[in-house]
């Protein structure tokens, strides 16, 4: 029987664990911060003398920590690109816009253990010479924003934030900024525009956020789960952290299981666990279900079939298989589920959430949805394949941001798996007709 391995949600689900500062401190909270702030200049072989900030950045690099928001980019590398030479202020942004369909992991951290995120942010800010940081939280997490505000207030009262934090000479404040229901704002440059009080439309890249981010200044932007992972790295050291998980995907991952399993929910496992392990953790398929397909990585990810059950869910293995791990979405579909309609819903979602700035995405997502609606009404996939391929190519190649570039991915993978073949027309119901 596979087991969970909890590095991040270590205490969050314990019966009497609460999300206030007192409880967090009792469970060893802010020890990593205290350790970080006490660091002195260190001589490291081959690297010369490192300042505490440089040392933390080196450890994060050595840990191999990869971004948990979807792209899987090396956190240490990203931080090393942050422009420190221009003398401009550097910002740290926590991307808590969690909007990828099927993702509900950051919610667990924010609601159950907000101080863990705040501590991770303070250390990350310290390491990147940041004095002002924001948490961009999706608008629908009303309660989450209140919990974070409360936790930030507690941190301020206890000099964990503000001027001269714990006597270290380091100043930092963190503010909560609420989004307002736009999926696109999870894209980092759209998020900057949104935080600047503009419409959440993505910017062209390059230039990248590390040189031209919020207000055009250097910015480090990381997902909630990524920032929290900085804590074990500071505590155990980069090398020890790198030994967890697999070589190219170190550490643990919060996977979000939903759909036809007995115990849907968030499961934290070491990277390397297979799809089968995760489904076992979630109590297996519900009675009478046969596995038909699994959506990995959310609407922006792709479908895999039952033959992928023994694939380790790491960034490298999923990529080899032509899928993506994304933010850790594992959505299970069985033989009763109307996949034509599910895929149509994905197309509808992207049409709805396209920001409308660039033509390939604005028009492509509309055309794509039209095709899926026709399929639901009995049109045959063979008659639509060319058009779908064409749309997918244009959107992937010519869209400004990841939304348009990935809007056809799940649909293409569904076609390749034959999920849209030979299915009787359902008249466009919403996937509930069979139940």
């Amino acid at each position: 029987m596979p087991k969970e391995y909890r590095l991040i949600l270590k205490h969050a689900d314990e019966p009497r664990y609460s999300n206030d500062l007192g409880c967090y401190l009792k469970h060893g909270g802010y020890k990593a911060l205290k350790k970080a702030l006490k660091l002195k200049n260190k001589r490291v072989e081959g690297k010369g003398t490192l300042s505490p900030q440089e040392w933390i950045r080196e450890e994060v690099k050595a840990s191999g920590l990869r971004g948990r928001g979807g792209a899987g980019f090396s956190c240490g590398l990203k931080w090393s690109f942050v422009d420190r030479r221009s003398g401009k202020p550097i910002y740290l942004i926590c991307n808590a816009d969690e909007s990828e369909p099927g993702t509900f992991k950051d919610r667990q951290i924010i609601y159950k253990d907000p101080h863990q995120l705040i501590e991770g942010m303070i250390i990350s800010a310290y390491a990147n010479d940041v004095n002002l940081a924001y948490i961009y939280i999706r608008g629908e997490f009303v309660e989450g924003a209140k919990i974070l505000d409360q936790a930030l207030a507690e941190a301020r009262e206890n000099n964990l934030l503000g001027k001269n934090i714990l006597g270290s000479g380091f100043d930092l404040d963190i503010h909560v900024h609420r989004g307002a229901g736009a999926y696109i704002c999870g894209e980092e440059t759209a998020l900057f525009n949104s935080l600047e009080g503009k419409r959440g439309e993505p910017r062209n890249k390059p230039p990248f956020p590390t040189t031209h981010g919020l207000f055009g200044e250097p910015t480090a932007i990381n997902n909630v789960e990524t920032l929290v992972n900085v804590l074990p790295i500071v505590q155990m050291g980069g090398e020890a952290y790198a030994a967890e998980g697999t070589e190219r995907s170190p550490g643990t991952k919060l996977f979000c299981l939903s759909g036809r399993v007995n115990r849907p929910g968030t499961y934290e496992v070491e990277f390397g666990a297979t799809l089968r392990d995760l489904m076992d953790l979630a109590g297996g398929l519900v009675d009478g279900s046969e596995l038909r397909a699994v959506m990995l990585g959310g609407a922006a990810g792709s479908f895999v079939g039952p033959e992928a059950l023994d694939m380790p869910l790491t960034l490298e293995d999923t990529r080899v298989a032509g899928a993506s791990l994304g933010s850790g979405v594992v959505m299970i579909f069985d033989q009763h589920d109307d996949l034509v309609d599910t895929v149509r819903r994905i197309a509808e979602f992207f049409r709805d959430e396209s920001c409308g700035q660039c033509v390939p995405c604005r028009v492509g997502t509309v055309r794509q949805e039209e095709v899926l609606v026709r399929l639901g009404r009995g049109s045959h996939i063979d008659d639509e394949r060319d058009l779908l391929d064409d749309l997918a190519t244009v959107m992937r190649d010519a869209s400004i941001c990841g939304l348009g570039q990935t809007a056809s991915g799940a649909i293409r993978s569904a076609i390749e798996l034959g999920l849209l073949d030979g299915i009787a027309a359902t008249g466009g119901t919403e996937g509930e007709g069979s139940r």
Binding site: Y183, E196, R199, E430
Partner: protein, 161 residues
Amino acid sequence: MSFSVPKKLQTEINRTIKKYPEKRSASLMLLHAVQEEFGYVSNEAIEWIADKLELQPINVYELVTFYPMFRQAPAGKHVLKVCRTLSCALGGAKTLHGHLCNKLGLDRNAHGLQTSKDGQFSVEYVECLASCGTAPVMMCDDDFFEGVSLEKADEILEANQ
């Protein structure tokens, strides 16, 4: 028409603006605050916010039309948001939404936000609310509800009558 903002909200808004190096950044937070107070964002409110942040009204107006959470017209006293994205669709979002519409005398096939005749409830579909493990989910105003059976939906309606 005059638009007046209560003193308490004024103080809160002034505090919010100070959180940003540039005033314009506070736009979204001010829109949230104003919508929470008045139930929607009127043209007068847009002008007031623009003035407060030293912007043109269009700079604020374009946000109200871009971001799905902002409304330009009053909604019912309570707003019900039913998630319709993948897991919730599988978990019965359409049945849940239809049930609410039937109970409130609304059209289950209509697009967008609709409000019951007595003005007590508005219902709308929204995209993923990030709780796919407990589908179907919905919100009633700021409160979040998981695993919403039809009985639970009735309870939510009753509790907010």
